[in-house]
Amino acid sequence: MTVTEFVDGPLWYFALAVFFLGIAWRLVVILANGWRGDLSRPRRSGLTGSVRALFSRFAPAPGIGRRIGLHLTGGYLFHLGLFALLLFAAPHVAFYAERLSLPAWQPMPHWAFVLVSELAFIGLMLLWLNRVLNPVTRLISSTGDHLSSILTFLVMLSGCLALEQAHEPLRVLHFFLVEVLMIYFPFSSLMHAFTFVLSREALGYRYGRRGVPV
């Protein structure tokens, strides 16, 4: 078996399994802790608070935005850019159709790919520089946080290099790094892509029933 065959075959399936089983396991263990009930008389609906918090937290809290310009710029650029690339980069659309049997949709044009990639890179670099240079994030960041940033950077970099699909080794390298990231994902803080929903729900429910706009 060649390296390409290994990366395209067994490693891909292994990565997929670890990714989905790991995520499921982590979510199950979180939820298995159960919920402490609240016997206090609610002022308003906790459910409404949950729904509200799920969406309201995409925008900075009033008065906080002016203090977190770097986080905001880096955060929005990176996350929006990443999702645009994941969903609309032409090779990804083709991959989803071929390997996951999804119907193909209209990919973004090449110029848009270049622009979005650059913005996403800028966002990621801003966030990582902040993590490394800001005394607060330096204190609270773990090795895992840095590893997540580095792996994501490498995946994006190799993806850009492989864009033209002219060099097979570059495509294989990109695919290999994606698989490493997928295996690492359930063990890391990258899981916030899922856990943020639970966390916002819990906060929104708690304060929603107290009648506080979350």
């Binding site: 396991w25 982590r26 199950v28 263990v29 979180i30 939820l31 298995a32 802790n33 159960g34 919920w35 402490r36 009930g37 609240d38 016997l39 206090s40 008389r41 002022r43 308003r44 918090a53 937290r57 995409f58 900075p60 809290a61 009033p62 008065g63 906080i64 977190i68 986080h71 955060g75 902040n130 993590r131 800001n134 005394p135 607060v136 994030t137 330096r138 204190l139 609270i140 960041s141 773990s142 946080d145 063990f187 803080s189 899981m191 916030h192 856990t195 943020f196 639970l198 966390s199 916002r200 729900e201 819990a202 906060l203 929104g204 708690r206 304060y207 107290r210 009648g211 506080v212 979350v214």
Partner: protein, 444 residues
């Protein structure tokens, strides 16, 4: 009537003596880590686990914390204050505990001593960080768990411990018990007020606070006048009058439960439909949100902060006030425990509008208001004095930016903190109580 600052300074001196009055704790040094872990284990539910799992260590919470904003010291980063809880979760309850037990060190006793400072001295549980976190991590809720854990390990700071021990053993706070309450009641009766005490049955049970008896006499007088003016069937009870709950502030659940139960028992016995909490910030969540949980079943009565009660009367058209504030520009400080933790925002503003004042908002207000710096018992923690001063300086700048002539609040703890700051800096803006203003504005 302004607070007698000499009496206030005497009170401050008393507060500074508190650490010397604290009794040693029962938890041996060797059992502290186990005591902390026992609380962590009991308190981590799916909500807490979600919060711990969702944090990406972005540091935005620091930008919401008054102590960080004022010092720039990363130690005050709110999520950092939860490090022992996070470590316990990862090593002992998390989905990959087997892995983290290999690569992450366990909690040690020295950690607890370090985090005692961070969780008590430099956190008022104000919750502003919870509202700033983009992931929705409820840091304030977890600080409460941290305090409970440290309290279980006998690590409550001495000043706070002294008051908690007094309330736990004698049922009094700062030496105020039924005798001192009755002296205050008699003083009001001498002035011609009818003050119902220990009635068998009453629709409304009114609580008071030690600070109202010792310092803020007008708050108690105004409450009596308001209740009588509204013609409410009310009473104060000598067995259950103290709203303050130093069990909750310190994190010592046994005392919290006992203090709450005393009130709940009496409210049920006299058939109260409503229990009114005085202008004592933490007393509100202690009864309104935690009371039923401590009691073990829903409370058969409503719990309202006095500012909330008056506000509702005004909003429902049942209470008219004289517009005593014409031409006065004021700003309102939302007490964290009543506002951000309780949802009481509109009622006090309705009262201020009824008073006819020109109400201007602080740059950060309502659920994003900055804390006074003295909440969650910091006012009685001597080692936190420096931090309280820093928080006051921030508030002072914000008040001055509004051009308000006075700062109005509805919490004794906020008032104490602001008065201490005013006294220290010789600030010229009066700190006023909402209930006292209403007392002055009742129709003849």
């Amino acid at each position: 009537m302004a607070v007698d600052m000499n009496v206030f300074r005497g009170f401050l001196q008393q507060v500074r003596q508190l650490p010397a009055m604290a009794q040693p704790t029962e938890c041996p040094d060797t059992e502290r880590v186990a005591a902390v872990k026992a609380v962590f284990k009991e308190r981590i539910d799916a909500g807490v686990a979600s919060h711990l799992e969702a944090c990406v260590h972005c540091g935005i919470c620091a930008e919401a914390c008054h102590f960080f904003v004022q010092t720039g010291d990363p130690q005050f980063t709110p999520i950092h204050k939860l490090e022992p809880l996070r470590r316990f979760y990862r090593r002992e309850k998390g989905p990959f505990a087997w892995l983290y037990r290999l690569i992450e060190r366990d909690i040690e006793e020295t950690d607890l001593e370090q985090w005692q400072r961070l969780v008590y001295d430099s956190c008022t549980e104000c919750g502003r960080c919870s509202f700033a976190c983009p992931q929705g991590v409820d840091i304030a809720h977890m600080v409460v768990i941290m305090r409970r854990a440290l309290a279980n390990a006998g690590l409550i700071p001495a000043g706070l411990r002294a008051v908690e021990q007094e309330q736990g053993s004698q049922g009094t706070v700062f030496g105020v018990g039924p005798k001192q309450l009755m002296a205050a009641v008699e003083a009001l009766r001498v002035r011609g007020y009818e003050v119902p005490v220990d009635k068998d049955k009453a629709d409304v049970l009114v609580l008071t606070a030690t600070t109202d008896i010792l310092l803020f006499h007008d708050a108690m007088e105004s409450t009596v006048r308001i209740m009588n003016h509204l013609g409410v069937d009310w009473t104060i009870h000598t067995c259950a009058f103290e709203g303050a709950n130093f069990g909750m502030l310190s994190g010592y659940e046994k005392v919290q439960k006992a203090a709450s139960e005393r009130i709940i028992r009496e409210a049920i016995r006299c058939g109260a439909k409503v229990v009114i909490i005085p202008e004592c910030g933490h007393a509100y969540p202690a009864m309104r949100w935690e009371g039923a949980n401590e009691h073990g079943e829903p409370l058969p009565f409503e719990v309202m902060a006095i500012s909330e009660f008056i506000g509702r009367q005004v909003m429902d058209g049942k209470l008219s006030l004289k517009p005593i504030g014409k031409g006065r520009r004021v700003t309102y400080h939302d007490p964290c425990k009543v506002g951000r933790h309780g949802g009481v925002f509109d009622e006090p503003r309705a009262v201020l509008d009824a008073l006819g004042v020109e109400r201007v908002e602080l740059p950060d207000n309502r659920e994003m208001n900055y804390c006074c710096g003295g909440g969650a018992g910091l006012f009685v923690i001597d080692t936190a004095e420096r931090y309280r001063a820093l928080a006051f300086d921030l508030k002072r700048k914000q008040v001055e930016a509004t051009g308000a002539q006075s700062l109005i609040t509805a919490c004794d703890s906020c008032r104490l903190s602001f008065l201490a700051g005013t006294d220290r800096t010789q600030w010229d803006r009066p700190i006023e109580s909402l209930v006292e203003l209403v007392g002055q504005a009742l129709p003849d």
